[in-house]
Symmetry: C2
Subunit: 145 residues, 2 copies
């Protein structure tokens, strides 16, 4: 894996809106793994490190297999947090035109259930100690740094 | 491919809510392809014919590759309808506990933009002639019956 720029593959740069809304958990083989700064939902975002992609179908077969494996890996980790009733997986990108995939752990008593998390009101940022614990948990379990 | 019941694989049955809300477009190798009866959005739903799945990560590697290929196939077909600004792909299932994947063609002037289609108000059913034309278009282009 490489994020080096080349003639055919421009350097990856995270969209500033994603950077502003999230914490970086670490780098998976294909994607940068982010944690949404909204303590209402355990909410990860996978961003394949390909600079000019917008839609899921633009990934080739190898990349899509890698992405699916990363979705599974993150899904299982979120389930392991406990008290998860449903996972929501989505590539929307109406507001942020860089391909990214949400993996959200949903609970039947969460702030948006049974509606979608998008458009469910303003994010409620984590307290510093809370997000530190969660990031450590995710990084350790996913073997990321 | 088989939908025959066996000891290990119970017969596939479409969830009644999905049956009520959609038209059947046809059968892809893994999934039944549906068209949501909401003329505000060109909106397909892929339902892998596996009876007891709820979440995306429960598919094995072969099934997930098949599903990804079908998402791509349907995405390209929706793009070919014209005037599509963005695709939304999502496995939510908070209300309907049978694994299904939405593939929705979005336009920047549609009824929910830039919000998600889920929770954007009641569906507006197609006129019979309109849906007949669209179903024929999809079946022909996707080589379904």
């Amino acid at each position: 894996m490489t994020d080096e720029p080349s003639m055919s593959q421009p350097a990856f740069e995270l969209h500033p809106q994603l950077a502003a809304d999230t914490f970086v958990v670490g780098e998976l083989p294909l994607s940068r793994l982010l944690l949404m700064n909204d303590h209402r939902f355990p909410w990860c975002i996978l961003v394949p490190r390909r600079q000019e992609l917008r839609d899921l179908h633009e990934l080739d077969a190898t990349e899509s297999a890698d992405l699916f494996a990363e979705i599974r890996r993150v899904s299982l980790r979120l389930l392991a947090l406990g008290h998860v009733d449903k996972l929501n997986v989505a590539a929307l990108g109406n507001r942020v035109p860089q391909l990214h995939v949400h993996v959200v752990a949903r609970r039947t008593n969460d702030a948006a259930w049974p509606g979608p998390v998008w458009g469910s009101g303003p994010a409620q940022p984590y307290a510093p100690a809370e997000v530190k614990t969660l990031l450590t948990n995710l990084r350790t379990a996913l073997h990321l740094g």
